[in-house]
């Protein structure tokens, strides 16, 4: 059995990141787009924590905590915007959010 190295974690994080990017790019539902952003942030966090272990210091973990804080703020504001938008347009599809194209 191959021992688990930092690279293993990086591969997982890369997979999550790419999946998150795919979600952001191709899904129509804003809620799921926001969830995909959470996936991306998680992938980044996983990288940071893995690097923290690799370097043997805690800076990565502290950054991960900051990113979680950021994710909370992002989710609150993002969902707030979503609700405000849904109230006006009655849709949650990104490709119908085209008011600026007028």
């Amino acid at each position: 059995m191959v021992p688990i190295t930092t690279l293993h974690y990086l591969v997982v994080a890369a997979a999550l990141f790419v999946l998150g990017v795919i979600g952001v790019l191709i899904r129509r539902n804003v809620v799921i787009v926001l969830m995909s952003i959470e996936l991306i942030l998680n992938a980044v966090n996983l990288n940071l924590v893995a690097f923290s272990r690799m370097w043997g210091n805690l800076h990565g973990q502290v950054f991960a905590i900051f990113i979680i804080v950021d994710a909370a703020a992002e989710a609150a504001v993002g969902l707030g915007i979503l609700i405000a938008f849904f109230r006006n347009k009655e849709t949650v599809n990104v490709d119908e959010i085209d008011l600026l194209k007028w």
Binding site: G20, I32, L46, R53, L82
Partner: protein, 187 residues
């Protein structure tokens, strides 16, 4: 008590769990992440995302980062996801579940993501040597205290990240206000 294992634990060298745990958790995380972006129903997607988050939290535990695990569970799984579920219930997804899941430019998006994946793979293949362990893994037992020291500082001395920490709290405050104002019918 297994003396060998204990000694290994105390020295901080041995893995916390067997590789099988890693593969299981990583598989769970990736598969449920895949479900997040493919499932039609947003509640199902949210449940899948919760599984991803918890798997990633467990991976943090394997990386000797218990405090990040705790924060991940409390903030992400317990807080943010409840918020997501609330919003999903409030907005109409009955209709969206009958519509197309993907937008018109999805081939382009998929292609871009694949390019990104290729970039990652090439980076990992070429730079494999970069990711060797550089320092001694940190002991798990004082993880929280050390993070606290970095965030708040020790007696009489500001921590390395104290300022950033305060800024983060300000960010949260702004986010709370923003969310409240945004969702209010009449201000």
């Amino acid at each position: 008590m297994n003396p060998g294992l204990n000694a290994a634990l105390n020295s901080g060298m041995a893995p916390v769990a067997t590789p099988w745990f890693f593969y299981a958790l990583a598989g769970m995380a990736v598969v449920s992440a895949l479900l997040v972006i493919t499932l039609r129903n947003a509640v199902h997607a949210a449940l899948a995302l919760i599984v991803t988050l918890l798997s990633v939290a467990s991976l943090y535990l394997m990386l000797y980062a218990p405090f990040v695990t705790g924060v991940q569970i409390v903030v992400y799984a317990g807080g943010i996801m409840v918020l997501f579920l609330f919003v999903i219930m409030l907005v109409n997804i009955e209709r969206s579940s009958k519509e197309h899941r993907f937008n018109r430019i999805w081939p382009a998006g998929l292609a871009a993501a694949c390019a990104l994946l290729a970039l990652f793979v090439s980076a990992f293949v070429k730079g494999k040597a970069l990711f060797a362990d550089r320092g001694m893994p940190l002991p798990e037992s004082s993880n929280t205290q050390q993070i606290a020291t970095m965030l708040y500082g020790e007696a009489g001395r500001m921590g390395q990240y104290t300022f950033a920490f305060e800024i983060a709290s300000l960010l949260l405050l702004v986010a709370i206000l923003g969310a409240v104002i945004m969702t209010k019918k009449k201000i």
